[in-house]
Amino acid sequence: MADLGYVALVLAFAVSIYSAAASVLGKRSDRPELVASARNGVYAVFGLVTLASIALIYALLAHDFQVEYVASYTSRDMSPFYTLSAFWAGNDGSLLFWAWVLSIFGAIVIFQNRRASRELMPYVSSVVMATLAFFLLLMVFVSNPFAKLAFTPTDGIGLNPLLENPGMVFHPPTLLIGFAGFTIPFAFAIAALITRKLGDEWIRSIRRWTLFSWAILGLGTLLGAWWVYVELGWGGYWAWDPVENASLMPWLVATAFLHSIMIQRRRGMLKVWNMVLIIIIFNLIIFGTFLTRSGVISSVHTFSESALGSLFLGFIGIALIGSALLLIYRLGDLRAEAEFDARISRESGFLLNNLILVVATIAIFLGTIFPIISEAVRGVKVTVAAPFFNQVLAPIFLIIIFGMGIIPFIGWRRASLGKLGRNLLFPSIVALILALVLSLLGIGNWYAILAFSICGFALSAILLEWFRGVRARRRTKRQNYLGAFFSLLWGNNPRYGAAIVHIGIIILAIGVIGSSAYKVESEASLLPGESMTIDGYTLTYEGMDEYIDGKKTVVAANLSVYQGGSFLGTMTPEMYLHANHPQWVAEVAIRYTLVEDPYVSLGGWDEQGVAAFRVLVNPLVSWVWIGGVVLLLGTVIVFWPDRLERRARSLKQGQGGEL
């Protein structure tokens, strides 16, 4: 079965190269049968890569330990759920997953457009197939998931226990789906450049693909943060580790892209900018995938060198230089259809938002690759610690949030400053009151208070605008408030869905501000019966349990938590030793509330019965997760066809046409 998988990969590699070439050749020499053959090739590749994936899944579930990958990441005692997740646990498998997802997306996009975009599609298909060919090349020649051992082990090494966590199971595939998804908009951009169809067509085709990929990438990044918080146990959820940055950077640029394509659709402007952005996004993604797999940056995740690195760099080189040259070549065709009319307009506001997001990405990029540059230039590695990123990016992100409050009130083409001022009066007052209240409550430092005020400003601005819309609709449609709310929401999905997304970001920001600015920490060594206090909490060490749970030896410490005299509950931090993993792993105990999370780690004990604990109180962390959920909900609403589109579709269906 494993051999079948490898053969399928080899065949897929050959067919993808054929399809990429035939597509372009057929289009240029006007031979539709070649183009059709290339299209079939896309479906064939999808079938072959699916076959290879099924082969891997089979090998995993059937415990075929002669396959090195299966032996490295699974063992007999693992549940089917985690055994399946081993598919993407290692390098080779994750490459196969990337390829599988891309082959699925390629097939979908070809099918979606089988009767449309005849000019663009051959080139779209070619770019997708070429990218797929690259990943297949990696697997066929360097990182074969089906590589076999010379013998068959009786059992596998198993998954690292840190990875046996639901968040960690979903984090890699979500990220990979988001990454692969951006290949489609990139392919359309290249196709548009080649065919000189640089108007609305490619933008319209990619809107949902971009939205989907952006949302999934965001979800994957948040899941990673969740895993860091729950499993790594140092008390935070983001360390600005290169691999974390690798997923954040394309996401930030994609956020900019989502906004600027709106401007191109409305006013035909920013055409060159949009091209630049999507090229950057795609290459950042490949670069990020490269970072994770080569030992180039010493990060928490990676520490080994291989031929993979050079191949990735080669691909990035080709993709980047190729698309840049193409863009320069077509610069003349990318003329804007309108000029920026006034200094202050929604267009310029969007452009500012874009610039700031790109500036933030540049900052993160520089901080991330600085160790490589310094080592190459000066022979000594210089790393950049987390506070660098926090200090540089905090003001940048606050400006963006501030913009969320202002820009929706600025009209397209030009703004009336007087009107703007009147609109912003209420949010400004809210912000000031908030700042006053917070400082009176003695909630510390001015920077955090300013940040909270800005969030309050933006939030109240969004809500105000929404309320006005509801009120107006209530009057005109004679509905009650609730009815007006929903009909407004469903009447204009993109606009109000976007408002929800912005609200989600603000909630997330509040969580980030709270947990960064007001974290409290303490350590203590306790005998059973002894207590420690932190930030109004009293924790009493009750005692220790030791027990066996399957393949794990668990040492669990029980602490009773009191706040202001009343008993809140028991927290049980653990350390366990898993049979497959030679080191003791800490399992943090967290108590989730809306206000703050008490967070307890067990770190050592001795024969006298003394146990060492580290306790953190992390304020507002739950707001980060809640903000993420709201963000995703808003995206679903934006994604949904709005009233106009639904009506257009039902009209088309009524007339006997297809979608």
Partner: protein, 129 residues
């Protein structure tokens, strides 16, 4: 073209502002990343500076005083070894042979005083040899 120039200027100003911000903050939070040999070779020049050093935890070198939460161990690589002192609870995933990055300061005592220990994540993306 006048209008376009305005936007180039704006973008340029932003980049300059960023550069300024980066430069200022960078100094406070950049640190050298050394191997043990490089650390020792650097000598007095890095006393009192915040640095990172990488190595493997030497077999049998871990000693932990639970009462006072003081951890001492030795990191080594193929060539050199370095004693490390850390105040805090025992880190997760920490044992003989584990690859770590320690962050802290070094001085004439010859003992590295770490305030952060980073154990490397499970090696998920190690390519098949």
């Amino acid at each position: 073209m006048f209008k376009k120039r305005r936007y180039f200027v704006g973008g340029f100003v932003l980049l300059v502002a960023l550069g300024f911000l980066l430069f200022n903050v960078f100094h406070s939070y950049s640190m050298y990343y050394y191997t043990i040999g490089e650390l020792k070779a650097a000598g007095e020049s890095i006393y009192g500076e915040r640095v990172r050093v990488t190595g493997q935890v030497a077999e049998g070198s871990i000693e932990y005083d639970v009462e006072n939460r003081i951890l001492t161990f030795t990191i080594s690589d193929e060539e050199e070894s370095l004693p490390v002192l850390y105040e805090g609870i025992l880190p997760s995933n920490f044992d003989d042979g584990v690859e770590v990055v320690v962050e802290g300061g070094y001085n004439s005592t010859g003992v590295f005083e770490a305030d952060q220990i980073i154990t490397k994540c499970p090696s998920r993306y190690v390519p098949a040899e």
